[in-house]
């Protein structure tokens, strides 16, 4: 019973997270970015833009990533134990507590396989002009599986939140946001922050939110 209620709470949390993401992304930002690989916005009377990072900035990103990876791997607590763990190590820790990530991954694979079979069936039904009600029935089944896959993926990334791999992904997205952000000075564009440390000290939450939404696009690039 207790396990069941935990399961329900987790599903609700996952759905909530999906909903929040949907609301935050504006179509016009994506359109602007697709056209030109950059997107401009105004904030507190200043003009900002996020753009693709160039080759030298990519090298800077790589250097920062290497340093971060090295420090995450070596960081120890007062007792001399390593503070950060890789995904594989976390799997072992969770397994000892009765949470089997490999089982979760197996379930994900089997759901994906089930979805492929249903996709083929639905595609065939569409090609044969089968009754709409039959197509809708299969579509609903696929929708349910997709939702289950999304929820399981969110659960998995929730459990792996503190893994070295995940911390690196978050770090890289912050560095990309810093490297790609420029501010207009007169007619020229210049770096909005002098260094990554300055960027990290920024307390303007509204600006950070605007950058974060746009940096989602940059991560695809």
């Amino acid at each position: 019973m207790e396990n069941q209620s935990k399961e329900i709470m987790s599903d609700e949390k996952a759905n909530d997270l999906l909903g929040k993401l949907t609301n935050d992304l504006d179509l016009s930002i994506i359109e602007e970015f697709i056209k030109d690989n950059k997107t401009e916005f105004k904030h507190n009377g200043k003009e900002y833009r996020c753009r693709l990072i160039n080759l030298s900035e990519k090298e800077e990103l790589n250097e920062l990533r290497k340093k971060k990876y090295s420090s995450l791997m070596q960081q120890k607590d007062k007792e001399g134990n390593f503070v950060n763990l890789t995904i594989e190590k976390w799997k072992e820790v969770y397994k000892a507590q009765g949470i089997n990530i490999d089982e979760l991954e197996k379930k994900l694979k089997s759901l994906q396989q089930e979805k492929i079979m249903l996709d083929l069936k639905l595609g065939q039904d569409i090609a044969n002009n089968s009754p709409i009600s039959l197509q809708k029935e299969t579509k609903d089944k696929i929708e349910q599986i997709k939702l289950q896959i999304q929820i399981l993926n969110i659960k998995k990334s929730d459990l792996m939140e503190y893994s070295i791999e995940n911390q690196l992904i978050i770090f890289v997205s912050e560095v990309i946001a810093y490297l790609s952000l420029e501010v207009k000075n007169g007619s020229e564009w210049a770096k909005a922050f002098n260094s990554f440390e300055d960027f990290k000290k920024c307390i303007d939450e509204e600006l950070i939110k605007k950058i974060a939404i746009r940096s989602l696009l940059l991560q695809i690039c």
């Binding site: 994506i30 697709i34 690989n37 249903l118 083929l120 595609g123 569409i126 090609a127 695809i220 690039c221």
Partner: protein, 115 residues
């Protein structure tokens, strides 16, 4: 996942479908401000333009019902099924065409004997 849906929404729109056809037909009309070094998001957008071009052609040729456009799941399922069956269709088409040409159109020259 979410961004992909938004990119699809743009690619599927009349505005971008028309622009896509125009770029193929006319010189000087461009989809992007850059001519080369396309970013991954631009490649993704291009892929979806081709994806919807195929879907819209199938609807125009009355191969499928436009009901498919009501949900991404229908579009994906049909496209996936089509990609898996395209080789079979090509083989069938080739057989039909070969039969047609050989039986009705081509007059092979008679072989002349050297003797």
């Amino acid at each position: 996942m979410l961004i992909e849906s938004k990119i699809r929404e743009l690619a599927k729109s009349d505005k971008y479908m028309n622009l896509f056809y125009a770029t193929k037909e006319l010189n000087g009309i461009r989809l992007f401000r850059n001519d080369c070094d396309f970013s991954r998001i631009q490649h993704m957008f291009l892929n979806y333009l081709y994806f919807y071009e195929i879907i819209f052609k199938e609807i125009a040729n009355k191969k499928i019902n436009d009901f498919i456009l009501t949900n991404e799941i229908y579009e994906d399922a049909y496209y996936y099924w089509k990609s898996k069956n395209i080789n079979k269709e090509e083989k069938t088409d080739k057989k039909v065409n070969t039969y047609f040409h050989v039986s009705n159109k081509i007059k092979f020259p008679e072989e002349k004997s050297n003797g």
